[in-house]
């Protein structure tokens, strides 16, 4: 027999790969993305493809520069997911170079500067999004008008023009605010929720159109839970915390504090709970830690939405949660089998 290298046990593997995980995550995003396109036009699809391509190209470039095996790491698919998540956070009419800016920050600064996949303390997509949000606040707040308020969503031509030939006169359709943004600015003007909710930007229980997109992400998220790709702790803790806090305030004064349903289905709550906060690399990794981590993000989201400067708080809340994750992990090591303090 040949003197082959010694191979350590186990000599079997279950077959799971990062690629398969990322592929399922991307597929689970699909219902939400399709509903998005249905309500707000084809722009989001262009944006998703664009961001994913940018992310892949940049990932390849950085791997090459860092002397890592390009094919091996590119295949893991994490760059594609980062691209998709970033695209889903920014308005669908964002000009291409802003998208690129976000991707560069996400992949280069938030991921590879720390050592690439597995080493990034912050979620790259959220870091990239927050970066463009800080750099281009105006563009990041011009959302497509609520569906049904204008004749149609943006068509293919308009979308392409908005993304690739920016600087022209922006179409009227993009001047809107999201339901969360509208709610925030009107509340700032001492409006009452009962009146604010009458605006066509609101739907049955969240923002018009957005509520169904959220439902799409919820469905995808549940699929991930069922497949075991995502564990229940983080989404459950986050949604329960958000519901609890918002219910408390809503019961206290329903005219100033929106209902929990509005918080759950308005903005990026579902996307955040199932696809962003659950990014394993930057999340807490112990079972108990994940509950704390999720609850922290849920609570912070509410705090930022209601008292912060930005209409939606998911991205900031996740980044703050990321920062707290190592500390949470440190204090939540599970009791090992037979460790003292065990009730036998």
């Amino acid at each position: 027999m040949t003197e082959a290298a010694f191979i350590s046990s186990p000599h079997r593997h279950g077959g799971a790969t990062i690629t398969a995980v990322m592929l399922r995550v991307a597929l689970a995003l699909l219902p939400g993305i399709l509903l998005y396109a249905w309500y707000f036009g084809i722009g989001i699809l262009i944006q998703c493809v664009l961001a994913a391509c940018f992310a892949l190209a940049l990932e390849a470039l950085l791997l090459k520069l860092r002397g890592r095996p390009v094919g091996l790491f590119l295949r893991d698919g994490s760059a594609v997911v980062t691209g998709l998540l970033l695209a889903l956070c920014i308005p669908p009419t964002t000009p291409w170079w802003m998208v690129l800016t976000g991707i560069i920050f996400a992949i280069a600064a938030a991921k590879h500067a720390f050592g690439g996949i597995g080493y990034n303390p912050f979620n790259p997509a959220m870091a990239g999004f927050v970066f463009v949000l800080l750099c281009f606040p105006r563009e990041m707040n011009s959302w497509p008008a609520a569906p049904g308020t204008l004749e149609t969503g943006l068509g293919l031509g308009d979308s392409l023009r908005a993304i690739f030939l920016p600087g022209r006169e922006m179409v009227d359709a993009t001047s809107g605010a999201t339901a969360l943004g509208y709610m925030k600015s009107r509340l700032g003007l001492m409006g009452m929720i009962s009146e604010i909710r009458a605006d066509p930007v609101f739907g049955t229980f969240g923002g018009r159109g957005w509520e169904w997109i959220s439902a799409g992400f919820l469905a995808g998220g549940i699929a991930l839970l069922v497949m075991g790709i995502v564990k229940w702790h983080i989404p459950a803790a986050m949604l329960i915390a958000l519901t609890t806090v918002s219910t408390g305030f809503h019961l206290y004064d329903a005219d100033v504090y929106a209902s929990p349903i509005f918080h759950l289905f308005g903005g990026a709550t579902m996307l955040g709970a199932f696809f962003v906060a659950t990014d394993p690399v930057s999340a807490s990794t112990t079972p108990r830690g994940r509950l704390i981590y999720g609850a922290l993000i849920g609570t912070l989201t509410y705090v930022i939405r209601v008292w912060g400067a930005y209409p939606d708080g998911i991205a900031f809340a996740v980044l703050l949660g990321n920062a707290a994750a190592p500390l949470i992990d440190h204090h939540t090591r599970p009791r090992v089998l037979g460790e003292s303090g065990s009730g036998a």
Binding site: M1, T2, E3, A4, F6, I7, S8, S9, P10, H11, R12, H13, G14, A16, T17, I18, A20, V21, P69, L72, F73, D76, G115, G116, I117, G118, Y119, K231, P280, V281, A283, T285, T286, P287, R290, D329, R333, P334, R335, V336, L337, G338, E339, S340, S342, A344
Partner: protein
């Protein structure tokens, strides 16, 4: 009355692949050309040869005696002539060659005259222990811990429950299953003897749910004194800690032994060997070995100790085109064999042939936590990995590195294909090495202190402060045992395959 089972954390449902071998009766492996018997087939000190070159020996004759308390003798497994006493390959990755006695069989397979013990129930437990030790029985479950040492622990401590472990949770392995089906009477009688030897209050025989024939065979034999239990098929249900947790709900203290909670676990094959030793005076000279995987005729074999693995493979139709990977043991915890001329020893339970595949490329840990969900010890494998990799020994120990049973569940599910167990073994051996170094310095001081204490004790007992030295004697013996066990553990860690490359 059926025992209520408890669940153990983590674990995996694995494809068992046992159907190939569990239904077919075992074959007698023919006498090989040469028998190579390593002096160390157990955990502890190697045995010392008591025969010379050219001497004629008969089957069952002791050819090397135990060299200390944690040691067991070696017996000739067939009749023949001693042709060599020296270094031979034994397949241990760290010490590829070890001292062995080589016998050239004369083909007659003549037994040495053997002396059975009659009426074991009236025999003093300690005497039973001596018989078991003299018959060279060492944990046949795989670890190879000298059986009499475990029995002694049982004699010195009150034993509530004796567990006879027939749970073969690793895929492919069916040697215990076959043994029970073919020798159920031995197993049950052996269980009763061990129960007597340790004076156990309860005795449980546990088998897996997917061993219906074994269960049926045992069911006919057990009476009120033995409880027969089926446990769910879930890897690693046969691990000592897992089995204890399942059957009793108790957890073996971290860093402790099962005897600390009044439980002793022995393997079914050990029970059968004890029966032979006690009622027939037969030492341990053969065992069941499963040969399976990528061979033409997978089968269980009854193999004389010292038979080359190669012979067993040949019996089962192994194709020698060189591309296969041979695993000694099961797919989850077995060792990769790089040569096949090594002998079957007391702990050899399975030879598995599987296609040699390139291991998948290792990617960074993405902290997905899948490993946490399957770890049966509730460790955090990803954190352990992190600390093991950065050689942070204190943190690795804070995360209970030494509680890891190396079951491989974590590495099995890891989407990044990180050979986690390899990292843990490496880290364990590095820590053990550092520990030994420290102890070297401490040793002199400890001895000095111990001497002072002894003198002090003598002084006081002379002054009538202590009743004679009986108590001290036991304490010293205990210390000796724990010391020996400690050393054994060190040595086991040392056997780590990766320790050579401190890269």
């Amino acid at each position: 009355m059926m025992r209520a089972l408890h669940a153990f954390p983590g674990g995996l449902h694995l494809e068992t692949h046992k159907e190939k071998t569990c239904a077919e009766s075992s074959l007698l492996q023919p006498l090989p050309e040469r028998i190579v018997l390593p002096l160390q087939q157990h955990i502890g000190l190697p045995a010392e040869p008591i025969v010379g070159m050219g001497e004629r020996v008969r089957k069952g004759q002791m050819i090397a005696r135990a060299s200390g308390y944690v040691s067991v003798p070696v017996h000739a497994s067939t009749s023949g002539t001693i042709v060599d006493i020296g270094l031979h390959p034994v397949g241990n990755p760290a010490t590829p060659d070890a001292r062995c006695i080589v016998i050239e069989p004369d083909g007659r397979d003549e037994w040495f005259e053997i002396q059975p013990v009659h009426e074991y129930a009236s025999v003093d437990p300690r005497e039973l222990q001596a018989v078991i030790r003299d018959c060279g029985i060492a944990g046949l479950g795989g670890a190879g811990f000298p059986t009499h040492v475990k029995l002694n622990e049982g004699v010195e401590n009150a034993v509530d429950t004796l567990i006879i472990n027939g749970v073969e949770c690793e895929p492919y392995i069916t040697c215990d299953d076959r043994l029970i089906q073919e020798k159920a009477t031995y197993v049950v009688a052996g269980a009763r003897m061990i129960a007597h030897a340790v004076q156990a209050k309860h005795c449980v025989i546990a088998v897996e749910e997917d061993m219906p024939q074994s269960f049926a065979a045992l069911e006919k034999l057990v009476e009120d004194d033995i409880e027969l239990v089926k446990v769910p098929t879930r890897y690693p249900a046969g691990g000592e800690k897992q089995l204890i947790k399942m059957l009793t709900g108790f957890e073996v203290p971290s860093g402790g032994l099962s005897i600390h909670i009044g439980i002793v676990v022995h393997n079914v094959a050990t029970a059968a060997a004890v029966y032979r030793a006690v009622t027939r005076g037969e030492p341990q000279v053969s065992r069941y070995v499963t040969v399976t995987g990528d061979v033409d005729r997978p089968r269980n074999l009854q193999v004389l100790l010292g038979t080359p693995i190669h012979d067993c493979l040949r019996t089962c139709g192994f194709r020698e085109d060189g591309e296969a990977r041979i695993i000694l043991g099961g797919p989850m915890m077995g060792t990769h064999l790089r040569r096949l001329d090594i002998p079957v020893i007391k702990t050899t339970n399975c030879v598995l042939v599987q296609p040699a595949r390139e291991p998948a490329a290792e990617l960074p840990c993405i902290r997905c936590g899948d490993c946490v969900d399957v770890c049966p010890i509730k460790l955090l494998p990803q954190q352990l990995y992190w600390h093991a990799r950065s050689d942070d020994q204190d943190e690795a120990q804070r995360y209970h590195l030494f509680d890891c049973i190396e079951c491989g569940c974590c590495a099995y599910v890891c989407p990044s294909h990180i050979p986690l167990v390899q990292y843990y073994r490496h880290a364990k051996s590095r820590i053990a090495a550092a520990e030994r170094q420290r102890q070297g310095a401490d040793h002199a001081r400890t001895r000095f202190l111990a001497r002072n204490a002894r003198l002090d004790r003598q002084e006081r007992s002379r002054n009538g402060a202590l009743p004679a030295a009986a108590g001290a004697d036991i304490a010293e013996k205990r210390a000796y045992i724990s010391d020996a066990v400690e050393r054994v553990r060190d040595r086991r860690l040392q056997r780590d395959p990766n320790q050579g490359g401190d890269d």
